[in-house]
Assembly symmetry: none
Homo-oligomer: 220 residues x 2
DNA sequence: CCGTTGGCTGAGGATGTGCTGAGGGTTGCG
DNA sequence: CGCAACCCTCAGCACATCCTCAGCCAACGG
């Protein structure tokens, strides 16, 4: 659920600081002082992102980057020394997703981590209404821990309602947003609301309320 | 529910004054003297709006603006020094939603905050009369914390009265506004006022007063 | 104090809106 | 090709809401 980050950095203070900062920012973190056993770590920990120092004892950051690309689809951010222009070029050419120049502000590092993860689609936009979670990217819905299986249309409907959390949405509006119709067609919306409710309410109280004469609301 | 504002301003008196003013205006507020850890604050507090001083120790307002744009979809208002024309140009080019020139009147600041939030669609139009809250978008009514369930017509009636807070509204006027009739029909209005009162007065004293010979007023 | 006017409210029938189960057509997959 | 899932239509049912009506109550003026 929360993205995992693997940090490879030999300088102890930096390694610890980065580890703490990432943890506080809500990521899962593991740190290592060098690239030994990286392959196993990748297979085992399955990180979403690698933070690789370029200057390392043993295999350097570039080598690790190449290794990682073979077996993992994690994003990679390189930590390079200031003005090591060659490093940056090399790094980007080799396929790093971003690089951070040392010394860096931790906040900036966090920002870049987030940016890369977002670009990779690993940072999920999850809409939350009460105990309901709608993961828009993954097309997954969870309530009280339980996965709820929805059809494509049901999901579109729910996602739209979740995005307007708390606001009443008219049936015509839903029809255009979800089905692309411009005017009212039968009781399509009602039928789908009915089905959606059955699935949602199997795990908790009503969230999808009717506002008679106006439409529907998703609200805790 | 209520919009959250994050204020970054190094001058202590201004920071405090702005914080208090925003709180009184009904916003959630956090203040910080500089941009350190802004990323975490963004992720954690999820503000709807940022108020950034341009002249800051460490990273200045522009840098923070750029950072914020990457990871957040909050609106941004810059606080610039008088006649710093470059700043304004730079600010708007960088994508600020608005700017306020120092020194400013607090009321103006609040007005701009409201304007930006409204433009962003983050501002709920909630009409308030005494302890009664009428949320127009959500079609929800609350009194003393309790949700009150109204029918569509009752809601329209109440919303109209709430929108003219303190002013007497004639029955004919209500008839046209709520029902679309052009002239008087029976005692329709009276019937609905009666029903509305029963629901409202279950949670407190009378708010919807009769003005004999003229109409009705909603007033605490 | 009484009459008149204006306002209040309970009852009830008509209407409209929403809910749901069933089923036919279509699509995608094994 | 057969099966299953899914999308949409249809029709009947249930009931909330709307509006009318009629009787009662409160206020105000004389």
């Amino acid at each position: 659920m929360t993205p995992r980050v693997l940090v490879v950095e030999d300088a102890e203070p930096i390694r610890t600081a980065v580890g703490i900062a990432l943890t506080e920012a809500g990521y899962g973190v593991r740190t290592r002082p060098d690239g030994d056993g990286l392959e196993r770590e990748l297979a085992e920990y399955r990180p979403d992102l690698l933070l690789l120092d370029v200057m390392l004892p043993g295999r350097d950051g570039f080598e690790l980057l190449t290794v990682a690309r073979e077996t993992s689809n994690a994003g990679v951010i390189l930590l390079t020394a200031r003005d090591a222009v060659d490093d940056r070029l090399h790094g980007l050419r080799t396929g790093a997703d971003d690089y951070v120049v040392k010394p860096f502000v931790l906040a900036e590092l966090i920002a870049r981590v987030e940016a890369v993860l977002r670009r990779m689609g690993r940072l999920r936009t999850v809409l939350t209404v009460g105990d309901l979670e709608v993961d828009v990217e993954a097309q997954a819905v969870r309530r009280a821990g339980a996965e709820i299986d929805l059809t494509a249309t049901e999901f579109k409907l729910l996602a739209f309602l979740a995005g307007r959390d708390g606001k009443v949405v008219g049936k015509t509006q839903l029809l255009t947003a979800v089905w692309g119709y411009d005017d009212y067609a039968d009781n399509l919306v009602e039928v789908y609301v009915s089905g959606l409710r059955r699935k949602l309410e199997a795990h908790g109280p009503r969230l999808l309320h009717t506002v008679r004469g106006s439409g529907y609301v998703l609200r805790a």
